[in-house]
């Protein structure tokens, strides 16, 4: 079985996520910052009657000095009734990978190392933050 992924770039990291979880890719939506939340948690997006927790994977994955673009893209995900948004600098394209192969963890695209992430792992990373959204 092959798995279709969306490859994007954030703070110099190249990441890939399965298309199945993607609700929509949006640009120029307002991210409302939430007080007393850690830096990796960018805030909330209200999009078409739904709330999305915005995760900045660049900061969460150790790139503290993330480049903040004025026109940041947000990849809206739906996973277990949860809305998660991933901040992205650039969409590199769509890529299909073998679901049971060695590419499940990551693969190389045009000489660039791509890491595959899942909404679950993202949520886990958000939960592990010192003051995660679900711990309140």
């Amino acid at each position: 079985m092959r798995m279709e992924t969306l490859v994007f770039k954030r703070s110099g990291l190249c990441l890939g996520i399965e298309i199945e979880y993607i609700r929509q890719v949006v640009r120029d939506v307002t991210v409302a910052p939430v007080p007393l939340t850690p830096p990796g948690y960018a805030g909330l997006i209200y999009y078409r009657g739904e709330l999305f927790d915005v995760a900045d994977l660049g900061i969460i994955m150790g790139k503290q000095h993330a480049i903040k673009s004025e026109r940041t893209l947000n990849i809206l995900l739906k996973w277990k009734q949860k809305g998660i948004a991933l901040a992205a600098d650039e969409i590199l394209g769509l890529r299909s990978v073998e679901e049971d192969g060695s590419e499940l963890e990551g693969f190389t695209l045009e000489g660039i190392q791509i890491k595959i992430i899942t909404p679950e792992s993202v949520w886990k990373m958000l939960s592990e933050l010192p003051y995660g959204p679900r711990q309140i």
Binding site: I19, Q24, L73
Partner: protein
């Protein structure tokens, strides 16, 4: 009255000759009377003759004795008076009793005595006056001597002063000579300075002219630059419009890209049913991608043009600024040249004035030099004259000393005269 030269006899006067004639006639009368009387009595002629002779002889002796007695006595008195006069006694008076020739002698003698008294009195006065004059003269001579000493000292001082003056004048003349030489050099230097200033003035004028020409040229360049800049500014405005359009195109392509991406995602999620849609979405995405690339390329080109335009405008602005600065600098240079020229002209006139004044001063100094030479000559003459004055005062002192000696001898003579006069005793008035 001259009684001694046989002149007519005065009235009421009896001369000795008349007295003798009268006495002889009286004696003869008496003798004749006696002879007549005796002859009458005795009738003897011879007796009468004898008696008459005896009587005549006796009468002659008696009359002769009486007459001589009276003359001798008066002569004796005169002799006594003369003797007293010779002893210095002029107080005696001569009595004038008779009216004969002896009276003439007595009168002459009395007159002589009187004249002698007057002479003595006058001699006394003269001696006293001589002594007083001597004293006065002595005082004056002392004063003259004192003054002469003072003159001598003053002359000596003047001589020393003249000597010093000569030295000073000579030294001053040397200094004036040196000063004159320096002033001559100064005049030459002033002339050279005037020449250099004139040259500097000419160069400043040329510089000012060049600066004004440069300014004019720069004004032309500025105008040309403004003309050149106008199309660039027009292009810039057009480029701004293109940029706006390119931005709109970029926005559209981005939106199209995002839309096609979302469509691709949706098509992928639709699986087998969405494959056709996915193809279309991919195509649209590829188109939008191309459009985006083209837009980006156009944007890049526009940006480059814009950058170049900005660089060109900046360059133009910088050029304008530089030219404006250059213009300001050249304006300042022109102003500086004008100031310099004005200053140079002022300096030229002032240096020219200084040169004229220096020349006048040199002429005056030459006049002073001449005066100093004259002064030197005068000082030398003064020195000689003071030397002569000193000699003259010395000689005058010697003359005065001689005068003093003469005065002393005069004084001695007057004293002697007074002593001689004192020997005479004058009647108390």
């Amino acid at each position: 009255m001259d009684y001694c030269n046989g002149g007519p006899e005065p009235m009421g006067r009896t001369s000795i000759k008349n007295k003798l004639i009268l006495s002889f006639l009286a004696l003869l009368l008496i003798l004749l009377s006696v002879v007549g009387f005796v002859n009458y009595l005795s009738q003897d002629f011879y007796l009468a003759q004898a008696i008459s002779a005896v009587m005549a002889l006796a009468s002659g002796i008696i009359f002769g004795s009486m007459f001589s007695e009276s003359i001798v006595k008066r002569l004796q008195r005169l002799s006594n008076v003369a003797s007293e006069i010779s002893n210095g006694d002029l107080s005696k008076e001569i009595s004038l009793d008779s009216h004969d020739e002896v009276r003439d002698l007595e009168e002459v003698f009395a007159k002589m005595l009187n004249d002698l008294r007057v002479i003595l009195s006058e001699m006394n006065q003269v001696s006293t006056q001589i002594q007083q004059t001597n004293k006065h003269l002595g005082g004056l001579i002392s004063e003259v001597l004192s003054k002469s000493h003072e003159i001598d000292e003053a002359a000596a001082k003047i001589a020393r002063g003249s000597e010093d003056q000569t030295m000073i004048v000579q030294k001053t003349a040397i200094i004036v000579d040196k000063g004159l030489e320096r002033m001559d050099e100064m005049v030459k230097k002033s002339a050279r300075t005037v020449s250099k200033i004139a040259e500097a003035q000419s160069r400043s004028e040329t510089g000012e002219k060049s600066a004004r020409e440069t300014l004019k040229f720069l004004d032309g360049v500025l105008k040309q630059l403004a003309e050149y800049a106008e199309p660039v500014h027009t292009l810039s405005r057009e480029m701004e419009k293109i940029k706006t359009v390119v931005n709109v195109m970029d926005e559209l392509s981005q939106k199209t890209d995002l839309l096609s991406l979302n469509a691709s995602i949706e098509a992928t999620r639709a699986g087998e049913f969405g494959k056709g849609f996915a193809l279309v979405a991919n195509e649209i995405r590829a188109m939008s991608e191309n459009s985006r690339h083209s837009t980006k390329e156009i944007g890049r080109i526009v940006e480059n043009v814009f950058k170049n335009k900005i660089a060109a405008i900046e360059s133009l602005e910088k050029s304008e600024e530089s030219i404006a600065k250059g213009r300001e600098i050249i304006n300042n240079i022109v102003s500086t040249f004008e100031d310099t020229l004005s200053g140079v002209r002022d300096i030229f006139y002032e240096v020219e004035e200084v040169e004229k004044l220096t020349l006048e001063q040199v002429n005056q100094m030459k006049g002073i030099q001449g005066h100093f030479h004259e002064l030197s000559v005068l000082a030398r003459e003064n020195f000689v004259l003071t030397q002569k004055t000193t000699i003259g005062t010395k000689s005058q002192e010697k003359d005065l000393e001689r005068i003093v000696e003469e005065m002393k001898s005069l004084d001695r003579l007057s004293e002697k005269m007074l002593a001689t006069q004192k020997r005479f005793r004058l009647p108390v008035k």
